[in-house]
Symmetry: C2
Subunit: 803 residues, 2 copies
């Protein structure tokens, strides 16, 4: 954080308190105005029904607290010359953050029609919760925000992600006491065990206890204060309390708490950066306890409102029809003394703006909250350094994620000084075979070290915590502030962040439509330890459905890749790491897998996204194939190629085409996804009338859902995971789900007409092989040698792939 | 909890310690044996390669700690005559819990072929992590378990769910320090704010700090002890520490900690039940700090293993090939002195069994962990009391969830004494219009009460916390121990528990195949505040994809209902509340909605799951209809009926059939889902060759995924939510997603051949109506009167439904 020349902790004079209060009142006025008014914004006339919006859909409860925080952040940012941003956690905080952005001018800079005058104020009010306008939550449309206040739970993880590798940045984070009850938020408190006071910035959590959610008191607000302090100390924080409902007293207390917190942060960072002892510091947290709906109506229709859950939404619901409510609203608005706050033109007065910092220091204008402005292209080294040599398909095997690990190590290394790349994962980097990265960076860790520890590093950029939520939150915060990263995760458990990825995709979809938001690096998932290789973990670890989940979302944003081998994984990862504004889902295996394509072939194949593997089929080019064997995913590719090999041997006259799909969205109509094939392209690959036997990595019906409009859809027969999971061998998994080579050959025989009597014998041989498998596995507990040792040789199987 | 006659806290004699240690050693021996051996289980011969499993896939690290806990739970259960169960949180705890169940005999009772002798021990060893055998996690197959140890995060919430309304039950819960890093677990600590010491049992968390996850130290194990104590006190607990690596010392400390904890629990409950002050007690927590892989190999190949993450899985990986490793394994196994522990027949010795309780008090035999044994049918009152009168379709409106609230109130009331029904939700019971339940039960709350509070009740059975994870975890624990409940949730945010519901469905699928597991009550979701009515919350609150997620899962378990009005919701809810072993997803609106069906009609319609609404169409019965208008969900039903009304007016010669689908799985082939229609049934409803315009509540491609095999699939055209979300009016939402009445009429005109010139004019009128909508909404911010005030009248629209 930048150091200030003057004493950092000067307490404010009465005049400064007046100015802070004026700013706060102005923000409160604007928040109420947004909820209620569509005209007469400065109350130059008595309030009439036609000034009131026909649908009252905003939320007041949290606004005065957020306005207080913003006002006081303005003060310290300005006084101390800080680089700062704020993550606004509470739900429905839109009115407050929009009000502050409009006051400081950052709003009008990105939305010039919402100017900082009476006309702009009218627009500001009208657009709020209005059709086609802005939502009641802090959202991508809100300048200065990297966090949507709708779902709740991720503010603190986002704040930590933003602070990583931003040593000069203060990230304030307002946590509502509702949000604080969620699991992800509760776990995020421990993120301070991973924050490096040397290379990372500071996070200042501000726990706002206004006491209520929608309809209930909150758990933390009703804790005895001593118990709350124990909790926060147990989280590794030193609590600073600000409590009250008298504005001037609260302003003084808040200013003092802010100064104490920032002095403490400055000292911690100075000491760490001057080479002080590497002990984890006790970071400050501010506990702000003010009434919900503070300064709003104390009572409505005889029921208490201010300071209760009843102020959560619209405290006065009937203002358009009910004159008494309308009078109460007018009195409420006038209680802020708007005539002191806004000039004749409607612009905020100089006193209101006295605390507001300048230029990019304004919270609504910081480039950190529009991270694409700061993003630099990631230095991804040439893939040639990492590619595995492939002279013929299937002659060698590698662990694809292990090969990717070498590339990631190089990226880590190339960003050692820039520090703008992080790898996150729930304790699984090595389990997922990416351990090569430790050659370039250890794992972030600020707790005590033991002699037996390996790869832990106070300055590490690999982030491991056993929480997919925190991993995702960190990475989102990191990307949204202009950096790069990758999340490696067990395939089944990435569902833990289904809802988080929803929100991130929605964020990107909305951001892409905002010209002032610069593109950020894509959110890249490596899903491995996948459904087909959970031999010992069994059913609980078998779920390939994240792809289905993501493909429901905005096609502008989502990309799904299933590279079938090491070099295709490199090519896909290279593309993903360079890309912007996407969510890339890459599913790849960590077990040894046949190398099918050389790097050049892999690049060409990935560029097409789907293509014929001529070397694997038996077409002669003179006619349409008799059958298409398609595959997507490493295990299905192996089984399909083994099936092709069996067909080549046993039914050599059959013209078999093998198609491999890397990019699942290629299957979609091109009107529905930018990567979708035209019907002509699709038909050229899959034909319009030949049987297509498709071996797919996940739930088979996903392929139907993508391809149902295609001409050949009626001939499409998909095999995949159909929830037949258990603890067993790799080959037994494909047998149980009818994705094995023998079943695929039987599928071909069942679907290609006119194969004749020879096929009957082949079909029986395949069925016999499956029976043999069942007996073998029951006896030995391992796969039969004919599948365990099978290798591809192009013109057949190298060794016993009987029958 | 039952009281014991003798002093509860007698500390064990040396002889008792010897016996406890013998039990622990026996369990450790059996855990190691399961990981490694397939023969020679009692080491009667020197260990040879052929005794070793070909694939070593188990996990050792957590087992000695779990065995210690089980041994000492045995002791207190036996000494105090407790009713107890344990939730085993740590991953890969299978070997330990299976070992203990086999020792106490409960295993052989449910799996007689795994007898308590040498032959059974061989089977116990061989089946572990073996194809078709048992997984390395605690799982449904494990007697005494309600919790799968695979995904991690939910143990403590499950434990609280089990304790609710079980006043005499002690629920111990072992929390691994890996799991403790997850969000759901971190949030679960605060569940003690909802535990009623009068009507609920006790939860005894045992935080096991063995220091490591798969590959990293854990956050909590490396906290300074004082900071950890602050954290646990902040969670509302009093920590009791058990630390060490000397078995006898640890046995003494553990016995003392257990006694102290149980004395404290007894005192708390006695005081509360004797009418003591209603202050939330400080419940005990045991912090058990023992080495990971304790008693295993200290070093392997020169690297430290015991006490490090290297003992997580298989400490000696090469025992089949490597004679040195094999010798180390043999020495390790013999270090437990099996000859003292097992008799000649292989059965555990009397000393080993000295601490084991009898009968149903054994942790592996408690009926609470096989809750179906205790489950009683839920007293659901006759629906006639709650049904809304419907004399003609569409003449009145009700809030469906409000009507359901009356039914739930009656269920709450009917279970007031039994206390076996709970309603859970994230602070949204009233927001979801279910507030009638407060007439029969308040909301559980153990924190201080204020005068302004409403419906909070120390003994309440409505559970609200702002965490979908905790809600789900509570309910799962409650159902798995034999009770009933319903989870009401905003539709978009139920994705937060995607991964939890995966695991619960997997649990039910597996349990249904185990004859000894009795069926439990279904997990019922009410998803409301749905995608079409998030007017002010906007895009972040709009997601109907949970249905897609659930429908990927085992069809034996999943059911999805979209009742279109209040009476159908009652009928569906009645069925769901009475059902067993399902996950029922019910999507219903909370906004006023037309009443289409009387109760009798609703029952008949829901029994069919899908059917023709003759009164809404214009078929004359003499021929196939020209077009089928299908609908599923309340908003699509309204729009489809409005479209039918427009067609009746403007194209009266068109034979329109209206089909409503309540049960989405009816669309699936009957081979794939027990509710699936035969092709004959499907064709009779939807025809094989007529255009079907289907208005669906969620993502339109879901309908294709369900129906792609049907004869008429090529004619199926589905409208639904296509991620065109924003802050806007209800009608604008359907327009943006092309699900509005005008678009549906245009779809009909575009797809029915030969409609002639008149249809051209009608189509233009529809397009004009959409244009008028766009202008109106931009100007007024509300829906046009012609849609806002539209009502159905059977033979047309009652008032202006122009054009």
């Amino acid at each position: 954080m930048r150091r200030n020349k003057r004493s950092d902790g000067t307490s404010p004079t009465d005049e400064e308190i007046d100015a802070l209060d004026a700013h706060w009142r102005a923000a409160n006025y604007l928040a109420v105005g947004q909820i209620y008014l569509m005209d007469n914004p400065l109350l130059r006339k008595p309030l009439e029904p036609e000034h009131i919006k026909p649908r009252l859909l905003g939320h007041w409860g949290t606004s005065p607290g957020l306005n207080l925080v913003h006002t006081h952040l303005n003060r310290v940012v300005r006084n101390r010359g800080l680089d700062a941003m704020c993550v606004w956690g509470p739900g429905h905080g839109g009115p407050a953050v929009l009000a502050n952005s409009w006051l400081e001018g950052s709003y009008s800079e990105v939305y010039p029609d919402v100017s900082r005058d009476e006309e702009g104020m009218t627009r500001l009010f009208r657009q709020f919760s209005f059709p086609g306008g802005v939502p009641s939550h802090v959202a991508p449309e809100t300048p200065g925000s990297i966090h949507e206040g709708g779902e709740l739970g991720y503010s603190l993880a986002h704040a930590y992600g933003a602070a990583l590798d931003n040593p000069d940045l203060l990230v304030a984070c307002v946590i509502g006491d509702g949000e604080a009850e969620t699991g992800p938020l509760a776990a995020s408190w421990h993120a301070n065990k991973f924050l490096d006071p040397v290379h990372d910035g500071a996070v200042l959590p501000i726990l706002h206890l206004n006491g209520y959610k929608i309809a209930n008191p909150t758990v933390l607000a009703r804790l005895p204060e001593a118990e709350l302090d124990e909790l926060l100390r147990g989280y590794g924080h030193e609590p600073l309390h600000v409590t009250g409902d008298d504005p001037r007293q609260v302003h003084r207390a808040m200013a003092a708490a802010m100064d104490t917190a920032l002095d403490r942060i400055r000292d911690v960072q100075r000491e760490a950066r001057d080479g002080g002892p590497a002990e984890r510091p006790r970071w400050p947290v501010i506990v702000l306890r003010t009434p919900k709906g503070w300064t709003g109506p104390a009572e409505v229709d005889g029921l208490p409102v201010e300071g209760t859950w009843r102020s959560h939404q619209v405290p006065l619901p009937g203002v358009r029809e009910n004159a008494e409510h309308r009078a109460q609203l007018e009195a409420w608005l006038r209680s802020y003394r708007p005539e002191e706050l806004f000039g004749d033109d409607g612009a905020p007065s100089a006193r209101v703006l006295a605390c507001v910092p300048d230029g990019e220091r304004r919270l609504g204008a910081t480039p950190h909250a529009n991270g694409g402005l700061l993003r630099r292209d990631l230095p991804v080294p040439p893939l040639e350094r990492f590619a595995v040599p492939v002279e013929e398909p299937g002659a060698t095997r590698h662990e694809p994620t292990g090969v990717l690990g070498d590339l990631l190590e190089a990226v880590m290394d190339a960003t050692a000084d820039r520090r703008d790349f992080r790898l996150v994962g729930p304790d699984e980097t090595a389990s997922n075979r990416l351990q090569a990265v430790y050659g370039a960076s250890g794992k972030a860790w600020q707790e005590p070290l033991l002699k037996t520890d390996e790869h832990l590093d106070r300055h590490g950029r690999v982030m491991e915590i056993l929480s997919e939520h925190i991993c995702q939150g960190w990475l989102e915060g990191y990307l949204l502030t202009g950096r790069h990263g990758l999340f490696s995760c067990y395939e089944a458990f990435v569902h833990i962040v289904d809802s988080m990825v929803n929100q991130h995709i929605k964020w990107l979809r909305t951001s892409r439509a905002l010209p002032w938001r610069a593109p950020i690096a894509s959110l890249n998932y490596l899903l491995t330890s996948h459904v087909w290789r959970q031999d010992h973990n069994g059913f609980s670890h078998q779920d390939p459905g994240f792809v289905d989940h993501v493909l429901n979302k905005s096609p502008e944003v989502v990309r799904v890749y299933l590279p079938p081998d090491a070099n295709t994984l490199l090519s896909v990862a290279d593309h993903a790491l360079r890309s912007r504004d996407y969510v890339n889902v890459i599913v790849a295996g960590k077990q040894p897998c046949f190398d099918w394509l050389s790097l050049d072939e892999a690049r060409a194949h990935c560029a097409r996204g789907a293509g014929v593997w001529e070397w694997a089929g038996t077409e002669d080019g003179t006619r349409e194939p008799d059958v298409v064997l398609a595959c997507a995913g490493d295990v299905p590719t192996q089984e399909v190629l083994a099936a092709a090999s069996l067909l080549r041997r046993h039914l050599p006259d059959l013209a078999v085409r093998v198609v491999n799909v890397v990019d699942m969205t290629r299957l979609m109509p091109h009107e529905e996804h930018p990567h979708g094939m035209t019907d002509g392209e699709y038909d050229a690959l899959f034909t319009t009338d030949r049987p297509v036997i498709f071996g797919y990595h996940g739930y088979p019906w996903l392929v139907h859902r993508l391809a149902y409009r295609r001409a050949g859809h009626a001939n499409l027969h998909v095999r995949g995971y159909k929830e037949m999971g258990t603890t067993t061998t790799p080959f037994d998994m494909v047998v149980r789900n009818d994705l094995d080579r023998y079943r695929l050959v039987m599928d071909v025989i069942d679907r290609v007409p006119g194969l004749g009597v020879r096929a009957v014998g082949v079909r029986q041989a395949m069925a016999d092989a499956r029976t043999r498998h069942h007996s073998w596995i029951r006896e030995h507990g391992t796969d039969m040698p004919e599948v365990a040792d099978w290798t591809w040789t192009g013109s057949g199987a190298r060794r016993a792939d009987a029958p």
